[in-house]
Symmetry: C2
Subunit: 435 residues, 2 copies
């Protein structure tokens, strides 16, 4: 999954100044965006959606040039697939922009408030972050998605979309900027720094005072690069080594359905299960059901010794699980399978190997459910439900900006509110504080 895209040629010392200038213009534009009424932001979003449909041919043509270059450079088929746009996909992207327009505006929401004994009236109000940097890999749809979400939440966006989608993104950004201008909002609220390649990202990551938040979206390599080098605040998203634990007391039919759904519904997404743990008391009954079903679904199985013995009796081919398997985010039809002595063993395993995204327990034992949810330290803990439900739309948050696996600011699926900060507004009539 991690094909880092922070790597195009271009690079001179002057690129630093050029990227900082982009960030300064974004900062200036963010002032207008922060004050824009919802109606103006929504009009801009509809103008952008119209623009995307109208520019469909130009977008597909630019994308064709990216695909051609990608094929010549030997990009793997799954990357080419994510990169590819056709008229239908452009229409779907435009429709998603209209969906964002329909969402409530998070800006201005009063989070809490009170009147103090001295008469001061306090309100804590949601305000935009300001300038949001997005660094992502070759997915042109993210260019539009991220811009729409930033805009709706009153933020300016500086985008770095990866060299593989260079031409597609250039056209998309042009359409977005035209849409902003058509309703009187500053075009510089959405800018790309793709032209400055890797140097540009380095500058963006360290543009303190100009960039309020940086969100990397992509593989573990990209996220690690950003976290290691950024001095602006970062939200890590989307690394999911998710676990399903089948407890001694589980309803095994349910557990089988949950396991199969969590592993095979979609394998390339971060909420897919990557490890199955089974209580020793349930293993002899559950694994002879689950392993053949998984194998039949095409899942390659990496198993520990106890699971291996049960797999052998069931005639299912497996290979031994190593520490690499326990750590792996396969994002493929592969699954690590282990038998644990008890609930403690499961919790310890999860705490050691999980990326903190989503874990599920299958159990009918209330105490086991309570302990698992309390002691597992992940963004989302499911009881008798598939890990596949960890998703902003499924959670009813409207749009999803990403799934945060960190604990600061946002944890789990991030909606529009997570792209805002707050401000305290304190109204008085000349109050001073006693010494």
């Amino acid at each position: 999954m991690s094909t880092t895209e922070i790597d195009t040629p271009t690079s001179t010392g002057s690129s630093t100044e050029a990227v900082l200038e982009v960030c300064r213009r974004a900062r200036e534009a963010s002032r207008a965006l922060a004050l824009a009424a919802r109606s103006d932001k929504d009009r801009a979003l509809h103008a952008i959606a119209d623009g995307l449909v109208a520019a469909g041919e130009a977008i597909v043509a630019a994308n064709g040039r990216d695909l051609e270059r990608g094929r010549a450079e030997g990009l793997p088929p799954n990357l080419l697939d994510r990169l590819a746009l056709d008229a239908d996909r452009v229409a779907a992207i435009a429709a998603a922009v209209r969906d964002v327009a329909a969402l409530p505006d998070p800006v201005g929401e009063v989070v809490r408030g009170s009147t103090l004994p001295n008469g001061l009236r306090l309100r804590q109000v949601r305000v935009p972050m300001g300038v949001i940097g997005m660094v992502y890999e070759a997915r042109p749809n993210v260019t539009v998605d991220a811009s729409a979400l930033a805009l709706k939440s009153g933020n300016a966006a500086v985008l770095r979309g990866g060299s593989a989608a260079l031409e597609s993104n250039a056209v998309l950004v042009e359409v977005i900027r035209a849409g902003l201008e058509s309703v009187g909002l500053p075009a510089d609220a959405v800018q790309t720094i793709d032209a400055w390649g890797r140097d540009g990202v380095q500058t963006l990551m360290r543009a303190r005072g100009l960039v309020d938040l940086l969100i990397p979206r992509g593989g573990a390599g990209l996220i690690r690069t950003v976290v290691e080098n950024a001095t602006v605040p970062v939200i890590e998203t989307g690394t999911g080594n998710c676990h399903v634990y089948v407890d001694a007391s589980a309803d095994l039919a349910q557990a089988l359905a949950v396991t199969l759904n969590a592993k095979t519904r979609r394998t390339s997404v971060c909420n897919a299960a990557e490890t199955l743990l089974v209580h020793a008391a349930a293993a002899a009954e559950f694994l002879p059901l689950a392993l053949p079903a998984l194998a039949e679904a095409g899942v390659r199985l990496h198993v520990d010794d106890r699971a291996a013995a049960l797999a052998a009796s069931a005639g299912v081919a497996t290979e031994p699980a190593t520490d690499e398997d326990w750590a792996a985010e396969y994002l493929a039809l592969e699954l690590a399978v282990g038998v644990v002595d008890d609930l403690d063993g499961a919790i310890d395993h999860v705490r050691r190997w999980s990326s903190g995204h989503t874990e599920a327990i299958c159990t009918t034992d209330l105490r086991a459910a309570d302990r698992f949810t309390a002691e597992v330290d992940s963004a989302v803990v499911m009881v008798n439900a598939s890990t596949a439900f960890t998703d902003g739309a499924q959670f009813g948050l409207g749009a999803e900006v990403g799934i945060s696996t960190q604990k600061l600011h946002a944890r789990g699926p991030m909606g529009l509110a997570e792209l805002t900060s707050t401000k305290w507004i304190v109204s008085g009539d000349g109050q001073v504080r006693p010494r």
Copy 2:
């Protein structure tokens, strides 16, 4: 204010491993802390308060050795003053710990929740961060404060309190650890890495996966060092270049009281005003009142040309304001004073020079108040009230962990809730997600 304390001798490659081991033990202890009932945490806090009082003599003696070393090394008097402990100050520190025990426990609060159409029940629940690193300067009271707040919010703490308070902090940490143990909580929930000096801080700042949040408390130099070097999440606190703007429509008697209070109530705190801006239409009336009153209060005045002319007529001594003055957080009886053409001039000045902490407008004009509060991008914006009110206790948040000047996670005064994250708990009965 910025006398960086990240600088003691000691330093070998093996210190990295030693500090990582401290963090690992903190991580392990954080598991027990996260699950501890409020009653146990409160018992620990009371045991710590009792222990502080009982160990009063030993604490004051250790502090005496720090003070002696500090004098020998030529520490400035204000630092020695902050460092000094006597029996009364120890009693006050113990009382503050009991105050923290009396606060509600933020852990377990259900932030939001819903039941989805498919029957899944969602709850977003407050949980501890895990391990919090605190890096601060020579103030032994912070050792106890920070530990008490971390404990109450279910977190383990790793402390770096600065070489000047080395002996005081060692005794205080010993008392805290004994208090934890006396109620059956792990002593390793509070540890110090003072023994490893500067190297220890470097390791702490980069202990990803072991440290969930790092809070620097101190001067701008300390905070910059942490922000530049940390790879763990950081909350910046407490740099306050606060402004008071007196609008054309201000009630000048109120404006004078607010200005004097904001500047002179306490000068060493981050919510003190550092710049006074006056609308041109009010300057000729307001400054001949304000400048003599400020001068009489002992305030050294750095003024722009227009203010200089009015000061001269009023017979008040001033010196010219430079860009350094507009940028300065004096934390002293000094004030930069400027005359602006209008509200836009004031907003532009604040946006350019403010550290984003607190700004106040004095006005009777509703539109001016609305524009100032909307367009000034700071954590707290006051209307007709002193900047001195920006404070956790004043805001009714109970304890104050610090005042965040960043936009991510926490902005403005931080209470116990800001030391927590959240976790989604999703309860089902076998739900799987359709393809």
